[in-house]
Each structure stands twice: as structure tokens, then as C-alpha cells.
Assembly symmetry: C2
Amino acid sequence: MTLKDVAALAGVSLGTASRVFNHQESVSPERCERVREALKKLNYHPHAVAKRLATGRTNVLRLYMIQEYPILPSTWGHYLRIIQGVICVTQAKGYSLELDICSIGDLEKKNVIIDGAGMSMFDGVLLLGSWPVEYWLIVEIVKNNLPYFLVNTRVPGKTLNEIEMDNKGAIIEAVRYLHELGHSRIALISGPAGQINMADRIDGYRMGLRQCGLEIRDALQRESDFTIQGGYRALQDLWAVTPRPSAVVCGNDHLAAGALRAAMDLGLTVPRDVSIMGFDNHELAQVTYPALTTIEQPCQELGITAAERIIALIEGNECENLRTIMPCKLIIRESTGRLGV
Amino acid sequence: MTLKDVAALAGVSLGTASRVFNHQESVSPERCERVREALKKLNYHPHAVAKRLATGRTNVLRLYMIQEYPILPSTWGHYLRIIQGVICVTQAKGYSLELDICSIGDLEKKNVIIDGAGMSMFDGVLLLGSWPVEYWLIVEIVKNNLPYFLVNTRVPGKTLNEIEMDNKGAIIEAVRYLHELGHSRIALISGPAGQINMADRIDGYRMGLRQCGLEIRDALQRESDFTIQGGYRALQDLWAVTPRPSAVVCGNDHLAAGALRAAMDLGLTVPRDVSIMGFDNHELAQVTYPALTTIEQPCQELGITAAERIIALIEGNECENLRTIMPCKLIIRESTGRLGV
DNA sequence: TTGTAAGCGTTATCAG
DNA sequence: CTGATAACGCTTACAA
């Protein structure tokens, strides 16, 4: 059932049928009505592909999940919430969302994005990741005139179309909070410093200490992976340092959960003997014992904003804020408190 | 840069250029070579949309995540692993994956699938969900001749194109395992029985008891939601029953984590006083204290199989197994054991 | 083996 | 306001 059939049934030309269906502009009420009836009767659906060919617009947004190895379940959960936000917007605005998962290596080597754009398979691209993106990739994208947004990541040292969490500010707040509880020897167990989010958290830790007038001691900083086991080992490590820390900020909830378990196995009571904080407000922060004080990120909002921005870019409504930082929120539970209480 | 340009540069006709690019069939080696050079020089990428219009094939797979409300993080994680499997296959076979999230109500009311198919936006559809799907929706899909597969869900009472986890078998194994540890009063804390997976797990629980020659007692079964809090309350409840259970099988790891905490707050030691089991092998199963014995599902394999099957269907290679059940795996950790040990 | 031309279903331009 | 008609870029008979 094509528009032609509709036109035939309504006894009008193809052009008129198209006008009625699309804008109902400049067509007599009478014929307009006839076309509408035909549209109804034939249960007409426009052929999306033909429309795309004719208009040059696909109404497809492609989202690349840039996946580090090994795959981390914590990242998964984080990404999916962001994607949910993206979908809210794409659905509302009549876009389809194509999803792709690839390593940063794939993205750069095979040049999949540019190729896809060359084949005009999508109108814009969202790069969702946690590790730094190479500048030349973006240069390539810009050169091809393809609307893009970096989500939850960036190109170090450049200000581009990007939208991120305020990782740094969140940790500064965390350090201040611990300082207000009376802690002055605050340690850090971070994930890999090469990861963008983690780099910002490490930065925030140092800046927080500075703002509180506390000394920055290398011995109190541990770089681990993102795993529960990593957190476990790092806390054991940290406990060998003299003087010992009285509070530990962790790069994510998994590290914090591991640290918690290590503290327990060392015979410590949390938060009486040591305070421990996570980051992410992952579900597991609720099930540890004691439950983790942590930081919540506005994942869905991030996705929503990213989608709105790129659609604005696609549709030519220049969007002002090319760089946006979303604030996070401190969630206080049981794993932090005053020493000895 | 279109094929026309390539043809012009190579000094051949459009048709010949197309033939070289697609099948390199029936074209003289010499001109073939010329075309190839032009292809290279112009860095030709076929216009996907035009190709689609000409061939009538989109090479797009659409996956609907059927989302219950409220949104459960545990479901998210589960789905994403499945999707990852799907993407492995679509990437390898040259398909794009479109992702949509909607409630089952959306799907049925707005008839989005049929409309999308009518607009020929995709070649096939994967329905990923956990709640029963209405038969008429599938009837509609079949009527429209659209290849489909149900993933992780089904239409109750019908055998259709579907692929699921062996939830039932897994719980039977769990009950047997507990029975071998000497337990005879085995309780169940399930999620909503309306959810397909949970219904199967409840079935499995009953069948497992029967196979072990144990009595099925309603007082030892609690239907909760999927939350940690739900598990907490359910275990408290269960503890008021006389005689008390000595082991509790939970519908998922969240319920089990809540039950664990409740047991702790009741002053019990797990597994000495009571054994507790989860389901999913969610990350939080590693961080509870004690760590949860649970059941792992082959999520990625499920996705891979589903994608392979539907692509076979699309490409007309009749796939034999229209219904497939994937086996799960028992993961033994610390939360189960013999009574009093 | 090759070129020509007729689609594929729209949109959009341009006379009338 | 309306109807032809030319794109859009490709595939695929069909004819040469």
C-alpha cells in the first residue's frame, strides 16, 4: 500500500496525497478530506526507507558504547541508565536509536563511524564511554560534518561537544563531608587513573584535601582496578601505612565493597574504626554491611540531555552549551561517621 | 561520491560498477580492475538507504526491551548481557541493531511493531522481556509475515519462536543440592508469580521438592517483589512459621541479599542456622556476607543464539529449533551448607 | 560481457 | 491549489 494507491483511491495526484499526509498545506478542504479517508481505509504507513532516500534524512541516531576490556558489570549498569534517558527523547522525537558496542580500538581502526556516515545510515552519533577518546577521531567526524556528542567521556585537553558527570566536584564534596566528621587522614582507593571519570575523581580528591587544608600524602593513595577484589587488597595495603587513615574514599562502590570486607576481616568495625565511601550508588551499596555511603549520578538526565542536544544539532537549531557538567548527589548511609562512635 | 562517479571514473556503465562492487560476477578482469581502482580512489561507500530501497531489505534488526514498571536494575543488567550477545552476531553478519525500550502496554496499544514493519524499517524483531506476552501480538506479527523471536519470555501455553533460560531445571537442581546437604524444610521467597521466569522458578521449586520426596507446604512459600527490602520482610515472615525452614531458596539475588540481612538482624549465622540461596549470579552475590550461593544464566549465549536464529529466519534458512531452553549453572559460595556446621 | 533503463516510494520543484 | 515530473542512489532484468 503506497501513497500512489492512496492517491488513486482518493482520486487525486500523488503530489496532493503527499502534501495532505505531510503538512496538509495548500490543499482544498474537500480533497483533503478525501485523501484522509483513503489514508484511513488503506491503513497507510509511509515507507521509511523511501522517505529517507527522498529527504536525505534518516532519523536514526547511532550510539556507540565504547567498551573497555574486560567488561565491567558496573559500567554496564551505568550505561544502560544513560541509554534509557536517550531513548526517552528519541522516542518522543521520532528517531530510532541504533546501538553498537565496540572497543575504542575497533572504533579507531576500522573507522566504522565515518564509514557508516558515508553510507548515510544515521544522522548523528553519540559516543558513550569512560576512557579518553583520541582527538583525530573527532577531527574525522567533524570533517565529515557529522553531528556528534561525547557522553560521559571527552578528549583530554579539548573542549568539544561533550556532556559529563561532575566527578571532580562530587569527590570534593565527599572529602569535605568526611572532614566535617572530623577526619583528617583521608585515603583514596581509585580505579585506573587512565579512565577519564577516575582521573577526575582523583583530581577531586586532591583538590578536596587542599580545600580542607589537609596534607596530600602519596602513601594514602592506591590505584587499583575496578573490582571488589581490588578494593579488598588495597585496603589491606593501606592498613600497613602509619599513621593509618581514618577514612577511605573509593573510586566506585565495588572497590568500597571490597574495602569494607577487608576491614571486616581485619577485625575492624565500620564506621567506628574507619569510614568507607563508595561512588555510583550502585545497588550493591545497599546490601553491604554496613550499607555504603556513596555518590549518585544523574544517569538518565545525562542521557536525556545528550539526546536533546544532538537532535538540536541535527535539526540545525544551534545548541549553545557544547560542554555540560551534570552535578552528582551525596547519599549518606551507614559506612561513614565520626571516629570511635 | 556515488556509484555513478565510480563508473564514470572507471569509464564503465553504472550497471557494471554495481556488479563489480557486489558480486564481481560476469565482468571482464580488465574492467573489473579499473572499477576497483576507482572504488579505492574515490573511497566509495554505498548509500545504505538507496540500497535498502532498491533491494527491499534493511539489514536492520529491531530489539524491543519490554520493560516492566518499576524499572529494576537487576533486569537491566540481565538484559544488557543478552544484548551484548545479540550485537556480537549482528556485527559479524552486517546487521544494525535498533534498540527500543517500552512497556508491554505501549507495545500492544500503539502497535508499534506492526507500524514499524509497515514502514519497512527493519527486517526482523526480537522481543526481550520477562513477563508473558499476549498471543494476539504474535498473531499480528505472524500475519504481517515479520520474522520474530521471543527472548527470555513466551506466550503462556503456546509454543512459538522462543528462546529461554531453564529456570525450572535450575531450581530443581538447587533444591536437590540443598536436600543433599541434609535440608528437608526448604522455603521459597519468590518474586511476583506473574513474571514468566519467576513462575518457572516457583514451578521448579515445587517439582524439586516432589522429586526429593519432600512435603510442599504453603506456609514455606512467600511471594514478594524483586527487591532487597522484599527479601528482608519475607525472611522475617518465614521465621514466624513453626517449624522453621532450614534453607531458603530465593527468586533472585536481591531477595536473597535482603533475606541474608534479615537473618543477620535476627541474630542468625548463615549458613550455620539457615542456608540461603539466590538466583542470577548478580555482582551483589559476591559482596554480601557471607557471599551467596546462586545460579548463573548463560546470558550472552542466549543473545547469540537468538540473533543467529532470527537472522536465519530473515535470510530464509528455515531454522529448526523454534523453541530452545538454555541450561543454567549452580554457583556454590558461602551462604549454603549443612545445618549446625 | 556490457550498457540501458525500469523500477523502489517518497519529496519537492515547477508550470499551470 | 494542483498535477506532472525530476530527483534520491542503487539493483536488476533485458537487450545488445
